[in-house]
Amino acid sequence: MTAFLTRLLGRLPIGYLQLTHHPGRLLAALAGVAFANVLVFVQLGLAGSMAESVAIPYRLFQPDLLVVSPAESETLSDAATLPRQRLFQALVHPDVTGGTPIYMGRSTWISGHDASSSIQFFGLAPDAGPFFHDALAAPLISLSLSDTALVDTLTRFVDMRSFAAAHPEAPVPFEIQNRQLGAVGTVSIGGGFGGDGVFLVSDQTFFHLFPQRSSATPSHILLALAPDADPGRVAAELAQLYPPDTVRIRTVTQAMEQEVRYQMTERPTGLIFAFGVAIGMVVGIVIAYQVLSADVADHIREYATFKAMGFRQGFFVGIILEEAIILAAIGFWPGLVFSQLFYQTLAYLTNIPIFMTPERAVAVFIGTIFACSVSGVLAMRKLAAAEPADLF
């Protein structure tokens, strides 16, 4: 390694030699950097998982525009209802080829003595398959039978294996909202951070489960447009059709992106994750600083000797940055491995969509190099104590 680094740097790798000269201290430093990496990865993983959880329901939708009430319209699940009349008004537009209402409600499913799960229900028209993801089109038809549901195999706190064989000809019965339903199929959506699972039912079954809700007031309206239509233009023209401030019209992608941004920047959970990332960075900087500054202090006479010999400041900066980058580059990998294990464990235990992405790994690696370099720059202040005249 020394020969390789000598060739790479064109000089003796003094930083590397200093670090490896004290293996115990090096191991402690690497453990510290890895720990800080795990902290950052965990926070970024949870934040990414939340963003992914937010996005998953939107991915069920195929069409171009999503019409919601302007009240509480930042999230899909919390939006206020709007009159179904808005759907009929939209159909007047020549570029709107179809539309369907979506009804959303939440209920607690008590599936055992101690097990209960918060379930997000989507009430959909069984013949509205073309408005939804291709994989849903066929199963939706099976919801034509009253009091049937497509249940989420990723539902938390429930053993969903008994639903694996659910089929329209052999519904698996279960009870929710004091009503007997039959699972006629399964979907794999996951509840994310807002609930424990997602069940799809027909609009009629939805009104059985939520009798206080009316077909006249859906939660959202999906609009499909002509193939050549510009969604932005149609949305603007539709807005003119409606009374002012009665609807909010966006493309599905826009709505998804805005909710992700809202959850990440305006909701406490997103801010907590961001704060956690900052804490992880600070911990990493502090640990790396402690190691590097202790190393500078231990070698202050040697540095003073180098100063006496005529080495310039850039040489010392090079040594300390070399140490910082070595700490970052080596400490990153155990952090990555432990974080991956953490993700897998958390995903297994909670069914939340948490996984490592190459972009995140690269970003954290660059962040680690940056944080350790900042520590190195801070540690350089101790070099001022290296006074060559004091050597005699």
């Binding site: 064109g10 000089r11 030699l17 000797t305 010999m309 060559p388 050597l391 005699f392």
Partner: protein
């Protein structure tokens, strides 16, 4: 270009500020010839180390004049002093070897200060010099595994490896036995004859006084004696 490697004129030096200001050197005048071996002597606190650090560009010259290799150091900026230090070799009493570098690597640092260069060649030069100093079998030893005398010889090799114009040494023979100490000083003398390398050395070692071209004694910040060394005297007497 003059014949002197070092010319000191009317040099005063102070430490501290205000009430705590203390004068360490008083009107020091000294001329050190090129290729000579000069020994600075004097009791502790006499100012010899201060004089050494001023001539070695390790401190700023505030009053008086120090010309080193024809470069005036009075009010010289840090960059100039660093450039000058690259032409010098330093040997410290407490060798100050880098504990995580081998003997060879410590010596290579003396070459690295002049640029990155060919590391393989640097290693060969370092090996050769260490071999000359009797450390050919200790090239890959860390300082912790070397005796005090061996460490000092590595420090000497580090100072000599870049062919400095002037060597400043503080008790370089203190950790060496009689034979090694004399061998080291003879090496300085040979370098003076062969390459014109000037050596200024602080020492209390009476064994090497006879080898000096000039012996300068300081007391209370003043030069109280500046005499030609024994060999030089004998040489002059012989010529007469």
């Amino acid at each position: 270009m003059t014949g002197a490697a070092i010319e000191v004129r009317g040099l005063d030096h102070f430490f501290g500020e205000g009430e705590a200001r203390k004068q360490a050197l008083f009107d020091v005048n000294l001329e050190v010839g090129r290729g000579s071996l000069t020994i600075l002597m004097g009791p502790s606190g006499s100012g010899k180390t201060t004089l050494l650090t001023l001539m070695g560009c390790l401190r700023e010259v505030h009053a008086g004049s120090v010309r080193l290799l024809d470069q005036e150091l009075f009010d010289a900026d840090e960059a100039t002093r660093i450039d000058m230090r690259r032409r010098l070799g330093f040997i410290f009493q407490a060798h100050n070897l880098h504990d995580s570098l081998t003997a060879r690597q410590n010596v290579m640092m003396g070459l690295q200060v002049h640029g990155r260069g060919d590391q393989t060649r640097h290693a060969l030069v370092a090996d050769h010099l260490l071999d000359l100093l009797g450390l050919g079998a200790r090239l890959d030893y860390l300082p912790a595994n070397l005796s005090g005398g061996q460490k000092q010889r590595v420090a000497i090799a580090r100072a000599l490896v870049s062919n400095p114009d002037i060597i400043f040494a503080d008790e370089p023979t203190a950790a060496l036995d009689k034979v090694s100490g004399l061998a080291a000083v003879r090496l300085f003398k040979e370098l003076g004859s062969a390459r014109g390398t000037t050596t200024v050395m602080v020492t209390h070692d009476p064994r090497i006084l006879d080898l000096a071209d000039r012996v300068v004694t300081l007391e209370d910040g003043r030069i109280i004696e500046n005499r030609i060394g024994t060999l030089q005297r004998d040489d002059i007497a012989g010529r007469k």
